[in-house]
Amino acid sequence: MRVALFVPCYMNDFHPDAALSAYEVLKRHGCDVVYPRNQKCCGQPFLNNGMHEEASEMADIFLSVFGDFDYIVSPSSSCIGAVKYRYATLEGGERFDSLSRKSYELCEFLHDIVGVENLDFQTPFTRKTGLHDSCHAVRELYLSSPSELNIPRYSKVEAVLSRVPGIEIVRPQRDECCGFGGGFSVMEPDISVMMGRDRIDDHSSKGVEVITGVDASCLMHMEAIARREKRNISFLHIANILAGREKGDIRL
């Protein structure tokens, strides 16, 4: 399986450890992984802010970089969501349909393509872990059942994560947005911070030591609040837990 790794711009610079973990996890599960150098931003900030011309340009670049691979996998649910569902809203968006079919968030790929029974995670993770369900992951990619719908409960993310030896996964009380929302975080800073703080409080109330999730932007936003408030809780991208890598550790 020829897999192209798509690393969101901010993960490249702020969470290279998680990107590296994603790379390693894919390799370990038999993928021929390539990181196309010429990749750029998926265009999500422009899509979400109504700047469709700019978004179109980024989408075309994305298509030219990733179009020939069998699979496109990313440790970011919101970016993959943009590729799968928002590219179609651009003028002439049908040209991106082929991308939709082969784009996967990391856990989604491990669950759907590799198969849960074939997952092999070596490093135990015994810290009490709070799983943050990112909105794009839940209500756009349906990686887990939206709490609003009356459908059987499932979670691909939890199915994958629970294959990590010794892990204790705790769900927060509410399935609720962390408040990042891209531009929202600075357009509506007070609501944004209150939402992020409430998420942290929710996890804290369950005695969680580490909060994880499939979207680095959610984690980054919550962590920025936690650090300012000197909260005794840490944040680790799910790829790192799967790869058995500590935060910030970029050793090969």
Binding site: N48, E223, L252
Partner: protein, 459 residues
């Protein structure tokens, strides 16, 4: 009343009282949770939502035809049907009918449409007393305030607030904030208003085309009481309230109350097809901008059945309150209604949203709320308010498009975070930095690390 500025400013004000904001958030989440439990009692819930969507979409495709049918059947039943192009005309029609009948006192049950048209002040200026009889609406009316939620108008008020309002305007015991006491007091006071009223004005939840009837849903029975004790019933409805027939009500009555408050059905589900003997009934059909929505990308919003569940589930609404939207209907659906009406004034509303999509998931009529908010941002970003934001995004675009620029910016950022004195880094301009630390870039980017990986693999 303070003039509306924009959502962020109003929201900041609301959130500054942290305790109250949390209280409000918890109160509305509780209503969302009740909806969840109610939806779980029906295994066919998702199928019903699909049906509601289908029925509404079908109706919109044949809206004019159904409106004609409604008018024909209602008229044959003895109901007068009038048409109003806009809010002012609606008010003029209502006022003229009231004048014809020599009405001086009106009791009004909940109608978002009459709020939208500004009917109360219009009638009051013409010497007609209008008493809002829904308890929540009466509370805000007495307080000189406006509703902050379409189903729970006084959700932003604590019982102590209500106690103060009633003590001042109704002479209730000062300091007695027992909800039962306050409700009983309101019942007594409003009973008097009902019995001395000359006319009843109501809204319409669903207008039945085939039967020529209107359906009104309440828990308090205030709509029915008002209609029963007066000889003039004026029912105001937006053109989108039409559904084909009573058979469709099976779907809508099973969804409405469960979505709104978690109840299986409203206490009173009332169907009016003719006035009582000796009485007069008029239905006023109002456009006020709705016809313009039919053809555009905002047309799905016409399917809204005004249940309020999108508000209850919206994490932003819960923490900012209905008044921060500056519009009669707040929350996700309110954002779209207001923005479609006045894009300039309400340009901040489409951005008062994280696109979390919870609203779309709960909407009983499957209105694609967050998707439509996403779509209208295309025009919202072009409004003058967002010139600055657009410029900032253009700058970000340049950075993301052109690698050398990006690398320079990232290096500068890295230096700033590491070496700038804290008070400079976190100066007032740094909106992110007010309550959050700046994320620090890693020593090496993944691109650099990948260089090593490739080197290693090449051997």
């Amino acid at each position: 009343m303070r003039a509306f500025t924009d959502h962020p400013t109003e929201a900041s004000r609301f959130v500054s009282d942290g305790e109250r904001a949390h209280w409000h958030d918890r109160a509305l989440w509780f209503v969302r949770a009740k909806r969840d439990r109610a939806s779980e009692t029906l295994p066919e819930w998702e199928r019903l939502r699909e049906e509601a969507h289908r029925i509404k979409s079908h109706t919109m495709k044949h809206l004019a035809w159904y409106l004609r049918l409604f008018e024909e059947r209602a008229t044959a039943n003895g109901i007068e049907v009038r048409w109003a192009s806009d809010a002012l005309e609606h008010n003029e029609i209502v006022a003229s009918i009231l004048r014809e009948e020599g009405v001086e006192r009106v009791v009004k049950s909940k109608s978002m449409l009459t709020e939208e048209c500004g009917l109360n002040p219009y009638l009051q200026e013409r010497g007609i007393e209008v008493v809002d009889t829904d308890l929540g609406e009466r509370i805000v009316q007495l307080a000189g305030d406006t509703p902050s939620h379409i189903v729970l108008p006084a959700i932003h008020l604590k019982k102590e607030d209500v106690s103060e309002i009633f003590a001042e305007h109704m002479g209730t015991e000062e300091g007695n904030s027992d909800p039962v006491y306050l409700t009983v007091s309101a019942r007594k006071s409003l009973r008097e208003k009902f019995l001395t009223a000359d006319a009843a004005i109501t809204g319409v939840n669903f207008a039945l085309a085939r039967e020529g009837a209107v359906t009104i849903c309440t828990n308090e029975g205030n709509a029915d009481l008002g209609v029963a004790v007066t000889k003039l019933h004026i029912a105001s409805m937006g053109i989108e309230k039409i559904i084909p027939s009573a058979q469709s009500l099976g779907v809508f009555t099973r969804l409405l109350a469960r979505s709104a408050t978690g109840q299986a059905v409203t206490t009173y589900t009332s169907h009016y097809s003719a006035p009582e003997e000796g009485a007069r009934m008029v239905v006023v059909i109002v456009d006020n901008g709705r016809s313009g929505l039919l053809a555009g990308e905002e047309s799905p919003i016409l399917s809204c059945i005004r249940c309020g569940s999108c508000m209850n589930t919206c994490p932003v609404y819960r923490r900012s309150g209905g008044h921060s939207y500056g519009s009669v209907v707040p929350g996700p659906i309110g954002t779209l209604l207001a923005y479609s009406r006045d894009g300039e004034r309400y340009s901040s509303l489409p951005f008062a949203c994280t696109l979390c999509a919870s609203c779309t998931m709960v909407c009983p009529a499957k209105v694609p709320l967050h998707d439509t908010i996403y779509r209208v941002r295309k025009s919202a970003i072009e409004t003058p308010t967002y010139t600055g934001k657009r410029k900032a995004l253009s700058l970000i675009y340049a950075l993301l498009r052109y690698r050398p620029l990006y690398l320079t910016a990232m290096t500068l950022y890295g230096w700033a975070v590491k070496y700038l004195p804290r008070n400079l880094l976190y100066s007032g301009y740094n909106v992110w930095g007010r309550d959050r630390d700046m994320p620090e870039p890693a020593r090496r980017s993944f691109s650099r690390i990948y260089d090593d990986i490739e080197r290693r693999e090449d051997g």
